[in-house]
């Protein structure tokens, strides 16, 4: 029930879902755990299925940040995107201000990564408008690095893209990597690094010049527990410094640390 509650489902709906599940196990003459599997996993599946029929919605979690007068860094109005025959975003409205952290959740295929691509400008929406600050960092989920390049070559390239000199880019990058618990020599080939270490570099490249808006697609993938905690400490620091963070996540425990949660519904099949 705690997982369902953390997923933002109303108490009445949680009671109905758990009663139905218990009744189904009772009818089948089985223990709920053997019928449905681990409770936490099942709760997530239930929460995702429950959200599937609902429109995208934003819930405020914390009111400690995001004063209404702070600068808007991202605004989406009526944004719709189709992927083949599926409409993954449908008339989405969203506003993010400096110092806010927004978590995007939803079932697989609900359009979380698509939303980040739209915000980054890598994908044009079918309908709707996107307004965004120019100062943005984007850490995609996959294949975002060049395996045959070194750590420092990545830092120099991303520094140059932001008009930062190579020395400063390398120094800043190494400092941020150290904050995530990794001291790099800079000469390591990225393809030889572990998945978690590559992910640290991935996040650091997005944050190299303290952008106004940070787009993170499941940034903790491959992280150990300590690095996960370090990342949230960094995100907290960036938020305090005025950076807005839009974060795709599957971890319900992340939701306690964000200001808002955007729940995306399951995609809808559309006729051609």
């Amino acid at each position: 029930m705690a997982e369902l509650s953390a997923a933002g489902l109303p108490d009445a709906e949680i009671r109905t879902l758990t009663d139905d599940a218990l009744a189904e196990a009772d009818d089948a003459g089985n223990d709920p755990a053997s019928l449905f599997g681990p409770a936490v996993t099942f709760a997530r599946e239930l929460a995702a299925a429950s959200r599937g029929s609902q429109p995208a919605r934003i819930r405020d979690r914390v009111a400690t940040t995001s004063p209404a007068e702070s600068e808007v860094v991202l605004r989406l109005e009526g944004v719709s995107v189709r992927r083949g025959r599926r409409r993954v975003l449908d008339g989405l409205d969203l506003e993010l201000r400096r110092g806010q952290v927004l978590a995007v959740v939803g079932a697989n295929g609900s359009g979380k990564t698509t939303l980040l691509e739209v915000c980054a400008g890598q994908l044009r929406p079918e309908r709707g408008t996107v307004q965004r600050t120019r100062s943005v960092g984007h850490a995609p989920q996959q294949n975002a690095l060049a395996p045959a390049l070194t750590v420092d070559e990545h830092l120099m390239m991303f520094g140059a893209a932001r008009d930062i000199g190579p020395e400063r880019a390398i120094a800043t990058g190494h400092h941020l990597l150290a904050q995530l618990g990794w001291r790099s020599s800079g000469r390591e080939l990225v393809g030889a690094l572990s998945g978690g270490t590559q992910q640290k570099l991935n996040v650091v490249l997005a944050q190299l010049d303290r952008p106004d808006l940070l787009l993170l697609d499941e940034p903790y993938q491959g992280f150990d527990q300590n690095t996960y905690v370090d990342l949230w400490e960094l995100i907290g620091g960036w938020r305090d410094a005025g950076t807005a963070v839009l974060l795709v996540t599957h971890l319900l425990r992340d939701l306690d640390q964000v200001d808002q949660v955007l729940e995306l519904p399951a995609p809808v099949e559309v006729s051609r």
Partner: protein, 226 residues
């Protein structure tokens, strides 16, 4: 930014030793297996070099698509990224052309009517093949499909008789025209036509590669929040 991308792309290519070995071996293999007929060996060497460079450009561009997209979001210019990678590929290809010119000089130079234009033919082949591979990468940004397109172009290039008028639309027509002059007894008009065709194709394909890459990588226009 352009110089940095060129330098880093060069480093990246040098670290792919397996790819480099294959790139060196393919034109050489084409050359060696037809060494008994030096005129065919020269054409095969040039076309093999063209195929290698076009394929290398294709793989370089396709494998860089994701990171290029990220760099553009971060503020990099599409043109700087494109030009940087083109320059690195051209520099590597021209080095190869020079090496193969030495090989030709050491093996079949005595049989050729003109030796110096061999270097011209190999360099022009490189200059054309790099944007050719980039055009294919931008039009078909998938490695397998792109490779098959390039294979088709090169196979046609190799099989057709360059005297036929329509073959001038093929990108490496200049290579075969120059080869005719090098082998002899074709006159200087072959040299001039081949050179002009090569320069024209280099410019046209470079422009097309830039336009297609811009179309592929250009970010969606996003206004600042009001």
């Amino acid at each position: 930014m352009t110089r940095l991308i060129a330098r880093i792309t060069g480093n990246e290519l040098l670290r792919r030793r397996g790819v480099l070995a294959l790139m060196l071996a393919l034109p050489l293999l084409f050359f060696v297996i037809r060494l008994d007929t030096y005129w065919t060996a020269l054409r095969m060497l040039a076309i093999g070099l063209g195929w290698s460079m076009a394929a290398l450009a294709l793989f370089t561009q396709v494998s860089a698509l994701r990171i290029n997209g990220r760099l553009i979001v971060a503020g990099a210019s599409v043109s700087a990224l494109h030009l940087g990678r083109q320059l690195a590929l051209w520099a590597g290809g021209l080095t190869l052309a020079l090496m193969y010119f030495v090989v030709v000089t050491l093996t079949i130079a005595g049989d050729l009517a003109h030796l110096a234009p061999v270097l011209l033919a190999l360099c022009l082949t490189v200059m054309i093949s790099v944007p050719l591979g980039t055009v294919v990468a931008a039009a078909v940004p998938r490695e397998l499909e792109g490779s098959l397109v390039l294979l088709g172009v090169m196979a046609v290039q190799l099989l057709v008789e360059p005297a036929a008028g329509w073959t001038r639309i093929l990108p490496l027509w200049s290579t075969r025209e120059l080869a005719s002059y090098i082998i002899g007894p074709a006159g200087e008009d072959h040299l001039i036509r081949g050179t002009l065709h090569g320069i024209g194709y280099t410019l046209a394909l470079s422009l097309l590669a830039w336009l297609l890459t811009r179309r592929l990588l250009r970010p969606a226009p996003i206004a600042m929040p009001a």
